[in-house]
């Protein structure tokens, strides 16, 4: 605390400085008083930075925009409700709210006194008129759930059940229910408590929370994000789903399907089923994705139901985009065993940055209630915990109703009889059904069972909702803990597939009580509907038998999809102790090669890899599994396994030329990453090198180097004379790899005397690896002779690859003067090539000094990069008053700044850094400036830099994509994902720092910097800098002016190109925030008659077949092909029938007629037979 306030001293007003002195006087005395003094000073310290909207609710109200036909009113505000974090209704229609004023962090010496508030609208006029403090003295409570005669509360490490036994409205009895939850991050603590329709309690935790809970059934651990499931009757605690960065929203639909939203992820709605695992789950080998890639981050979730809301809204998902101050809505459509999710128009939005919707719920009156945490600041780690702009005193609950639609009458469930409560299960209001069930859960078990019998018998089978009523009855049985096999079996055979699927889940829950569970699951895997098969596959994991394995694999006989594939993979993997010995003994055991390969792929046992290698090298692997098996061979194949593949390379039996290349790649990867070599290689390599295929030739050369085949040096020297530059380079690299005395001598003499300068450079680059001192001395003599700029760069690049080599070059250089031009190029190379974490190492510093001594001084920064808080504040004011965000956007898009290489907008763009779509509404201007100038000071969760140290000492830096049981996937600086087997990893370490280089804006003029920040600070706010939920194409590929293309004549020939694989040559382009692509940024291509054309493409994933319609604007007379099929445009609109799978859409147009505007393409939905599609975003 004390040091903190000192660091602020520069910007303290005078009065505060006096306090500061005072506190320094006290510093040496150990006293509690000091702590409080220092705290109050830091509050003064940032007063100057205050720029927050008026907290008057009316001000907020005036600035709300609501969907047509709806209105919003204030249900409750401070002081009745303060800092709401989560809310839930009880059966009496009271709204329980959990509130924390110490969030995000307890000040040293402060005592927490957080509260549970109960809001009541006693006169039912839609405005709360009573607020009671039910409990206080809590410590950062982040979740609550009324039920079982009291309320469950998340209280840091524990869950309490608080009860009011004397009816005075205040808790007087506390029972600890569970404990051992992690506290590594206050905004990830256990939260979002909800009842499932099964009467079980569900709650979430997020990425930095590691929980270890001791329960009567044994220890339960959940490391990282996920969803817990707790049976309050039996005290059984289980992990329901795993992963996500900040799983926030959690809700169940009327059939018990569960959905999650992520407050820090970017995939919108996530569909979860038992065992579902998402991004970031530690140790997960397979993960599922969300349904809306590239969507904003969401908090809270509910599912619309009931008579007050429009009929066609029923079943849609409502959730909050708290960064952009909006309430979003999504519509789901069933697809296989999962869903397609589509964002529709927003329900509520505002430009008032204090509006932070954190929870959303349908209320007992059928209206939608939104808990508004109210805060101009939302960051957790990035902004100081005690930053004075953090609001600690306000809070609101807003209520959204449909105009001219009657509200739902409160059902007054409390005193109803069992039969009346059962009748309430027929309600179309999700709220009423759930509350009735929760009351029944606490009524006498026998009476409820009797009542259920009567109620079920009296149900009308001709009622369209009959099967849902049966399911509700089954759920009541589950909630009260009374097994009902006949009802269960009845539901397993009903027509409605969702009811059958829900019944399978109940069956699995009762597996200990129903002996025939396994045999029922075995038949359920054959169900005609994918969603039932999914539940059955998940359930079979509990049975360690061959029957269960064979039945689960039977799912492969029907159509698979991502969820089924995930579930089957897990089940089969978990049952491996049962089937693996059998299959190793008899590879034909499953009677189906596809099933065998699928199963073998799920395990990491070396014997299974060997069997796969046998099957692979004898060409028995079905095509659809080839890629998987090839990857496995490269990563896990043993030397013996690789020998089989090698023999297939030298004596191909498959006749598939591509396969030979693939096999070579497997051998290369195994050699590079694991130093493995097949047995008895050498002589055949000479034969292979004679291949006509250049790609084969290159790979063989690489293998010669990696395998250190010194006896083939003669071949390398011969190839070195090759006219093809690439072959020459590879041959030289291979020579460097040989590492024997003869080849070293050859390399050295080439480096010293070769007539071709570029060969000298290549030789030096190779020598750096084995003889850096020699390389340095040759390099310097070459550098003094003014080589070409490219060659200088290449020389420096070679020495900059390791700190040791950098140091050696620096030492050598410090005694020599090289031409200043050369030294300048060297300095530039250092700036571009040295990773940030090595910039301050001795070698780098020494090299800088040495280069500067030779005149290698870079021009001074134009935009100063070292600013103190006061200067940043002043700059922020200039941004507010002077910035032109339109110019700022153009600066952002400049190639030289490389912003788009790492950041996406609307999901389109690089994936190395966070998506910036709502940056402006989530980060204050001064923080934006700071994070550009000092990127390492401000890292979003999920963008922590990781350092992988391999067993061989190699280090890989990048972002963690997935930390699985067998391998760690890292996204490297180039944005590529690399899987590194765990067996090769010595340590995986998170290190402070950012891949975003500091000083990236040093070359900008100050006014340009201001415009850039102005643009960034507008991102997400209402207007032209917001990514709307229209389906606009944002990620493009464009053809460069390439030789092959120049051979074409006229635009009509473009279609000939479509069949060619142009992908590697294409240039990635991204739309502006408004969704348009400036024509000036699209490369021009000339054909052989000198005409200028452009060809751009975008990719779309068709989820459901139908008509794909699009609207193109900004270019006249464009030609459009969906796949290879040309479509005709009328007024820019055209469509074609498409089938499921990824498709490229190609657009070609002549530039003469195109003008200088921008191209925009919108995917149109809405026709009855329209296809369901998802635009592919990302890099």
């Amino acid at each position: 605390m004390i040091l903190e306030s000192i660091s602020y001293i520069k910007c303290l007003p005078k009065k505060a400085r006096r306090h500061q002195k005072l506190s320094q006087i006290f510093r040496n005395k150990t006293s509690v008083v000091i702590l409080f003094l220092a705290t109050s000073i830091s509050v003064h310290g940032q007063n100057a930075l205050r720029d927050i909207p008026s907290p008057d609710p009316q001000d907020q109200m005036d600035r709300f925009e609501v969907a047509a036909g709806f209105e919003v009113n204030l249900f409750a505000a401070d002081p009745m409700v303060v800092k709401p974090i989560q809310m839930n209704w009880d059966a009496q229609g009271r709204l329980w709210v959990v509130s924390s004023t110490i969030y995000p962090h307890l000040k040293p010496g402060e005592t927490a006194n957080d509260k549970i508030l109960v809001l009541e609208d006693t006169d039912r006029d839609g405005i709360a008129d009573k607020s009671t403090v039910f409990a206080e003295g809590l410590f950062t409570p982040t979740g609550l759930l009324p039920g079982d005669g009291g309320v469950y509360v998340a209280n840091s490490t524990e869950i309490l059940h608080l009860k009011d036994t004397n009816g005075d409205g205040k808790a007087d009895e506390t029972t600890r229910i569970l404990s051992g939850f992690g506290t590594g991050d206050a905004h990830h603590l256990i939260h979002t408590f909800r009842w499932g329709p099964d009467g079980l309690m569900y709650f979430n935790q997020s990425i930095y929370i590691y929980s270890h809970v001791e329960t009567p059934y044994g220890i339960r651990r959940l490391e990282g994000g996920g969803v817990w499931q707790y049976n309050t009757k039996t005290q059984k605690l289980e992990v329901y789903a795993k992963g996500l960065i900040n799983p926030w929203g959690l809700q169940f639909d009327k059939w018990g399907k569960s959905f999650l939203t992520d407050g820090a992820g970017r995939e919108g709605i996530n569909y979860a089923f038992p065992g579902a695992t998402f991004v970031t789950a530690p140790g997960a080998e397979r993960i599922l994705s969300g349904l809306n890639p590239g969507q904003p981050k969401h908090s809270g979730l509910d599912i619309v139901s009931g008579s007050h809301m429009p009929k066609d809204w029923s079943g849609s998902l409502i959730t909050n985009d708290f960064r952009a101050n909006r309430v979003n809505r999504f519509v789901l459509e069933e697809q296989g065993s999962g869903f397609i999710s589509k964002q529709v128009d927003d329900l509520l939005w505002t430009d008032h940055i204090g509006f932070r919707p954190v929870d959303i719920l349908m209320g007992p009156d059928g209206a939608i209630y939104v808990a508004d945490w109210y805060n101009p600041i939302i960051q957790h780690g990035e902004v100081d915990f005690f930053d004075s702009r953090r609001d600690q005193q306000h809070g609101r609950i807003w209520r959204i109703t449909k105009k001219d639609s009657p509200l739902v009458k409160y059902p007054e469930l409390e005193n109803k009889s069992i039969l009346e409560l059962l009748e309430a299960l027929k309600s179309e209001e999700n709220w009423e059904r759930l509350q009735a069930k929760l009351i029944l859960k606490n009524r006498d078990e026998l009476n409820v069972t009797e009542g259920l019998k009567e109620w079920v018998t009296a149900l009308d089978p001709s009622n369209p909702a009959y099967e849902h009523h049966l399911l509700e009855a089954l759920w009541v049985h589950q909630a009260i803990g009374v097994v009902n096999v006949p009802l269960l079996k009845k539901l397993l055979t009903v027509n409605n597939s969702e009811a059958r699927a829900a019944a399978v889940r109940v069956l699995v829950h009762w597996k200990e009580n129903i002996p025939e569970t396994q045999s029922i699951l075995v038949s359920a895997v054959k169900d005609s509907h994918a969603t039932v098969r999914l539940e059955a596959i998940v359930g079979l994991e509990n049975f360690k038998t061959m029957d269960a394995t064979v039945a689960a694999l039977g799912a492969l006989d029907q159509t698979m999809d991502v969820n089924l594939d995930f579930a089957l993979w897990h089940t089969v993997s978990n049952l491996n102790s049962v089937w693996l010995p059998e299959v190793l003994n008899n590879p034909a055991y499953f009677g189906d090669m596809g099933k065998t390969i699928f199963a073998l792929n799920t395990v990491s046992d070396p014997k299974s890899t060997t069997l796969l290698a046998e099957l692979y090298s004898s060409n028995k692997v079905p095509d659809k599994y080839l890629e998987l098996v090839q990857e496995k061979m490269a990563k896990y194949g043993s030397s013996e396994d690789l020998t089989k593949i090698y023999l297939e390379v030298v004596n191909p039996t498959s006749g598939n030329a591509d396969k030979q290349l693939k096999d070579l790649e497997i051998l290369l990867q195994a050699a590079k990453e694991r130093g493995l070599e097949p047995q008895n290689t050498s002589s055949q390599l000479r034969t292979l090198l004679k291949s006509e295929n250049e790609a084969v030739e290159i790979k063989v050369l690489q293998l010669i180097g990696l395998w250190k085949k010194a006896d083939l040096l003669d071949l390398l020297l011969q190839k070195n004379k090759d006219s093809n530059e690439e072959v020459r380079k590879v041959a030289m690299e291979a020579m460097g790899g040989l590492d024997d005395a003869t080849s070293q001598e050859v390399l050295l003499s080439m480096a010293e005397t070769h007539e071709n300068e570029s060969i000298r450079v290549l030789a030096i680059s190779q020598l750096v690896k084995t003889a850096p001192e020699k390389a340095a001395s040759v390099a310097i003599s070459l550098l003094t002779k003014k080589p070409t700029e490219n060659d200088i760069r290449d020389i420096f690049a070679a020495f900059l690859t390791s700190n040791a080599a950098t140091d050696i070059l620096a030492t050598a250089l410090s005694n020599t003067v090289i031409p200043s031009e050369t030294a300048k190029v060297g300095r530039k190379a250092m700036q571009e090539l040295l990773p940030w974490h090595r910039r301050n190492k001795d070698g780098a510093l020494k090299l800088k000094v040495a280069l500067e001594a030779s005149g290698g001084v870079l021009p001074p920064e134009r935009m100063p990069q070292q600013l103190d808080n006061q200067q940043i504040y002043a700059l922020a004011q200039e941004v507010k008053t002077q910035a032109d965000p339109v110019i700022g956007e153009a600066i952002y898009r400049r190639q030289s700044l490389m912003c788009q290489n790492c950041h996406g907008i609307g999901g389109a763009g690089g994936q190395l850094g966070p998506d910036l779509s709502s940056l402006g509404t989530s980060l204050p201007i001064d923080n934006i400036i700071k994070s550009i100038l000092e990127p390492t000071e401000s890292i979003k969760e999920g963008f922590e830099l990781q350092k992988v140290t391999k067993n061989d000492g190699g280090i890989i830096m990048g972002y963690l994509v997935n930390d699985g049981a067998r391998e760690v996937v890292i996204r490297d600086m180039a944005g590529n994902e690399n899987g590194i087997p765990k067996s090769q990893i010595k340590s995986l370490e998170k290190v402070p720092g950012s891949l975003m280089p500091a000083g990236i804006t040093a070359r900008l003029e100050k006014h340009e910097f201001i415009d850039l920040v102005g643009y960034l600070s507008k991102l997400g706010s209402t207007g032209s800098f917001r990514v709307t939920n229209e389906k606009l194409v944002r990620r493009w590929k464009a053809a460069p002016d390439f030789k092959v293309l120049a051979k074409m004549t006229g635009e009509d020939k473009w279609q000939n190109l479509l069949s060619k694989n142009l992908n590697p040559m294409l240039k990635g382009l991204y739309s502006q925030v408004a969704g348009d692509l400036p024509l000036g940024e699209i490369p021009l291509v000339s054909d052989n008659s000198g005409q200028k054309f452009s060809l751009v493409q975008f990719e779309v994933d068709i989820l459901k077949e139908g008509e794909l319609s699009l609207k193109l604007t900004g270019v006249e007379q464009a030609k459009v092909w969906i796949g290879t099929k040309e479509i005709t445009l009328s007024k820019g609109i055209g469509s074609a029938k498409v089938s499921v799978g990824k498709q490229w859409v190609n657009i070609a147009f002549a530039r003469e007629k195109a003008g200088n505007g921008s191209l925009k393409i919108l995917i149109i939905n809405g026709k009855s037979n329209s296809a369901q599609s998802q635009l592919i975003v990302g890099q």
Binding site: M1, I2, L3, E4, S7, T30, S31, V32, I34, L35, P104, H105, L106, K107, P108, G109, S156, T157, T175, R176, I177, L178, S179, G180, G182, T183, G184, D185, A186, L189, I207, Y208, Y210, S211, H212, V213, E214, T215, P216, Y217, G218, I219, R221, E223, G224, T234, Q235, G381, D384, F385, T936, E937, I939, E944, S987, L988, E989, K990, P992, G993
Partner: protein, 384 residues
């Protein structure tokens, strides 16, 4: 001070003045800090020694430190465990592991054994002396079958803990059997895994008994007719005046050996024989504590509130307060940002955590002050 002497305590556990005692283990240890009974009884046993205590228990933890995993790695969980022990600077370390490990059954017993030995090696290397606790039984386990299995496994692991302590010449305290009682669940939270208030009192007492660190509740038997006082605590300056209508003496008292909690009062009793007819009041240190007839005093009056029970309450309050603040310090919320790998963002708040030392040391001192014996005057007077 004849009634408190370390000669009675086992050779294997005898803290010196200034010693630091650390509690380490799973939730059995972590939850103890909600009550503080064990610390209370231990510190109170040696009122003349300045002793300090730190609780390093962690729900779900094992001898491998498994529950100490978190997003920041390194340090790995075990390294973190060792660094936490080192930072607590223990002279003594009372270790309660095994309840979680035992769930892995006989098959993993040798794994546990190796782990505990490894941990004890580390403890030894730091120079701290270990005292090993057994596990406690599980009272509820989902099904009867599972419960039998669990308790068999727990006993199996207890044997190993006992064996290791024997081999290493360490004190071993078997608390298991104390919890096998007819109304077993009375000592447990609803989950049948964790102890409640009564359970922790029993836990502390069991440990004190086995360490042979027991003390009697003070009693006074006064014979007014002979002007003698029989007591198990020192008594001095006895005076009887006004024909035995006014009896006074001084006694040195400290907080009761067992903490005073609602469900269990363990107050001192005063019996006075040979009084004349009448109503007598008893004041201690000038404050009226009891009133009774001659007959009442003859039968013995139990003092529900007295300066020593107030002292007891104060001592417990301070212990709990200190434990709470220490918990926030060594296991703070947001540690990912303060001491974890994101400390480049909020690392400045490390200062705030370090500043808690001032509070913790101050409370340590308050605790050691609060347990000091008081010499008070007892005065029995007949009402006029």
């Amino acid at each position: 001070m004849f009634f408190h002497s370390s000669v009675f305590s086992q050779q294997t556990f005898g803290p010196q003045d200034g010693d630091r005692i650390v509690f380490l283990g799973n939730a059995l240890i972590e939850n103890e800090q909600q009550f503080g009974f064990l610390e209370y009884q231990l510190t109170n046993y040696w009122p003349e020694k300045h002793l300090t205590f730190r609780n390093l228990g962690w729900s779900g933890d094992t001898v491998f430190g498994e529950a100490r995993s978190y997003y920041t790695n390194p340090p790995g969980p075990y390294d973190l465990l060792i660094s936490q022990i080192k930072a607590a600077e223990p002279d003594w370390i009372i270790i309660g592991y095994g309840n979680v490990e035992a769930q892995e059954g006989a098959a993993r017993l040798s794994h546990f054994k190796a782990g505990l030995n490894q941990l004890l090696d580390s403890v030894e290397a730091i120079g701290a002396k270990a005292v090993l606790l057994s596990t406690i039984p599980q009272a509820i386990a989902g099904s009867e079958e599972l419960m039998v299995k669990r308790n068999e496994e727990l006993l199996l692991y207890n044997n190993t803990i006992a064996e290791i302590s024997k081999n290493r010449d360490l004190a071993f305290i078997d608390v298991f059997n104390a919890f096998i009682t007819p109304n077993q669940t009375e000592n447990y939270e609803n989950n049948g895994v964790h102890l409640n208030e009564a359970g922790y009192l029993l836990f502390a007492e069991t440990i004190m008994n086995q360490l042979m660190l027991t003390t009697e509740i003070p009693t006074f038997r006064i014979d007014a007719s002979t002007a003698t006082i029989e007591s198990n605590v020192p008594v001095e300056k006895i005076s009887m005046t006004d024909k035995s209508r006014r009896i006074s003496f001084n006694s040195t008292l400290q907080a009761p050996s067992k903490p005073v909690i609602k469900s269990q009062l363990n107050s001192q009793t005063i019996t006075v024989g040979g009084l004349k007819r009448g109503i007598y009041t008893l004041s201690i240190g000038g404050k009226l504590q009891a009133i009774g007839s001659r007959k009442d005093w003859e039968e013995g009056v139990s003092l529900q509130q007295s300066p020593s029970t107030q002292q007891s309450e104060q001592l417990l309050k301070l212990i709990r307060e200190k434990d709470k603040i220490y918990f926030h310090q060594y296991r703070p919320q947001n540690r990912t940002y303060i001491i974890g790998f994101r400390s480049y963002e909020q690392g400045r708040h490390k200062e705030g955590l370090a500043a808690l030392d001032a509070l913790i040391f101050w409370l340590d001192d308050q605790i050691n002050q609060a347990k000091k014996p008081l010499t008070l005057q007892y005065l029995l007077e007949q009402l006029p």
